[in-house]
């Protein structure tokens, strides 16, 4: 039946959305290349049908209705495809923000879920969007630290525990040597980035 595959794709989009919002770390399942291709094929098939139906001059109500339903199917397929891609692009946006527009490709592969989950176009999009964010945050708005934490700050200084070795960091209060499992009392603004990257844990 026409529209069945698109339905599946919408369910996949819903699953993607749940997966991204449900867990603490953002993750993106595999791009459903096969499904997208099948739907696109279906659209061109429908298109041929529509053209054929249009040519039927002696048509009565029946074929007019057929033509209309065909158009609706095509439109629905398009809507489903775009919705799927939009959902994924929004998650990509979130990933890019979380990493402060740094080269997210490296991070993705480091974190285990390799960039094979993304379609080539999505990889390109993510790269360009990350570039956009780093341009934006490095400009006049540098002081604000636009990609910083969106929870209101409570203390200037916080206790952190080191989860992964991160070498030495230099702050205006001295040098810290971040060795795994050690604890420090540091200024939050100094280590914000390390917390986001998962090196430190706020206590």
């Amino acid at each position: 039946m026409y529209g069945d595959v698109a339905n599946k794709l919408v369910l996949e989009a819903k699953r993607t959305d749940h997966l991204a919002n449900g867990s603490a770390t953002l993750q993106l399942p595999m791009f459903q290349d096969e499904m997208v291709r099948v739907i696109l094929k279906e659209v061109s098939q429908l298109q041929r049908n529509a053209e054929y139906l249009k040519l039927q001059e002696d048509s009565g109500k029946l074929s007019k209705c057929q033509y209309f339903v065909t158009m609706l199917c095509m439109e629905r397929n398009k809507r489903c495809l775009l919705a799927y891609q939009k959902t994924r692009s929004e998650i990509l946006d979130a990933i890019a923000w979380e990493n402060n527009g740094l080269d997210t490709m490296d991070l993705l592969s480091n974190k285990g879920h390799d960039s094979g989950n993304l379609s080539p176009y999505e990889q390109e999009y993510l790269r360009e969007y990350s570039q956009l964010i780093s341009d934006l945050t490095a400009g006049e708005l540098m002081d604000i630290d636009l990609a910083g934490s969106l929870t209101p700050p409570s203390d200037v200084f916080i206790d952190v525990r080191v989860l992964k070795d991160a070498g030495e960091i230099q702050t205006e209060y001295g040098v810290f040597n971040l060795i795994k499992d050690s604890q420090f009392f540091v200024r939050q603004a100094d280590v914000e980035r390390l917390i986001q990257q998962g090196y430190l844990q706020k206590l």
Binding site: E75, K78, Y121, L136, D143, L146, P153, V156
Partner: protein, 266 residues
């Protein structure tokens, strides 16, 4: 620790006012909210009002150009000031009494940065959501985006829509029949342009007008209270919003009052 909190506050006041003496860049005011005297405290409360309004309103509100220019300039100056102070403090003895005011100022700075960051991120989120709607708005009345968005936001908006469109085109649209390749089609069964939810309910507080500038729109209700009258079209009803009152209304009903700064969203 026997430090008088008043001293610290006085210290802070002096520091912030010293920074506040930077001349405010002149420019055209876009909203009535900007009209208030450019003192530091007033600017901060205006900023917080803008922030609340932006977070609650369903649509993108005009960018407070002059206010933000002032706030950002002061922020930069304060960061620099703090840096010189803290290096000075470190060279002297590491005495707690000298560090505490510094700590307070840093905390305050972090808070201000948070408000600005949250405001801007909220706006960027809305720009992403209503990208196509903004495009339509721009086509309808050229120049509207100039006041609605800041320069950086405009750059962001242009670039993000461009790469998003490229993604859609590459992945889907170019495999479609030619007449179905548009992303801003309003002819089909469902409009593809996502508009802000104009009829969303919002909480609002009616502000008191400044005493020296009486408001011509202000009427007096049955109980002798000053109020603004709004018309709710779908009920065909006129409602009085008393000054100082808190109401729940549909956004489109009170939009004009909000733009004039007569009510604030909470």
């Amino acid at each position: 620790m026997d430090i008088n909190i008043d001293d610290i506050l006085a210290d802070l006041d002096r520091d912030t006012t010293a920074v506040g003496s930077t001349p405010a860049p002149a420019g055209d005011d876009t909203t009535r909210l900007d009209d208030s005297a450019a003192t530091v405290a007033a600017d901060y409360s205006t900023l917080v009002t803008h922030w609340c309004n932006e977070r609650v309103a369903p649509e993108l509100l005009p960018y407070p150009h002059t206010l933000m220019a002032r706030v950002l300039a002061r922020l930069a100056a304060q960061i620099e000031h703090l840096e010189t102070l803290s290096t000075g403090v470190l060279e002297q003895t590491l005495d707690r009494s000298a560090k505490l005011p510094l700590l307070c100022m840093e905390a305050e700075l972090e808070r201000l940065k948070f408000v600005v960051r949250s405001l801007l991120r909220c706006r960027l989120g809305k720009i992403d959501r209503f990208g196509l709607y903004l495009r339509q708005l721009d086509a309808r009345s050229p120049g509207a985006l100039q006041t609605l968005l800041s320069a950086q936001e405009r750059v962001y908006y242009e670039r993000h829509s461009a790469i998003l469109l490229k993604l859609f085109n590459n992945a889907i649209l170019r495999h479609m029949p030619a007449e179905m390749q548009a992303v801003d089609d309003t002819e089909g069964s469902v409009s593809m342009i996502d508009e802000p939810e104009w009829a969303r309910f919002v909480f609002l507080y009616v502000r008191e007008p400044a005493p020296d500038a009486p408001d011509p729109l202000l009427a007096v209700d049955d109980h002798g209270q000053p109020c603004y009258s709004v018309n709710i079209p779908e009920l065909g009803e006129v409602v009085d919003l008393a000054v100082g009152g808190i109401y729940i209304m549909r956004y489109n009903v009170i939009k004009d009052l909000l733009m004039d700064g007569k009510v604030v969203l909470i």
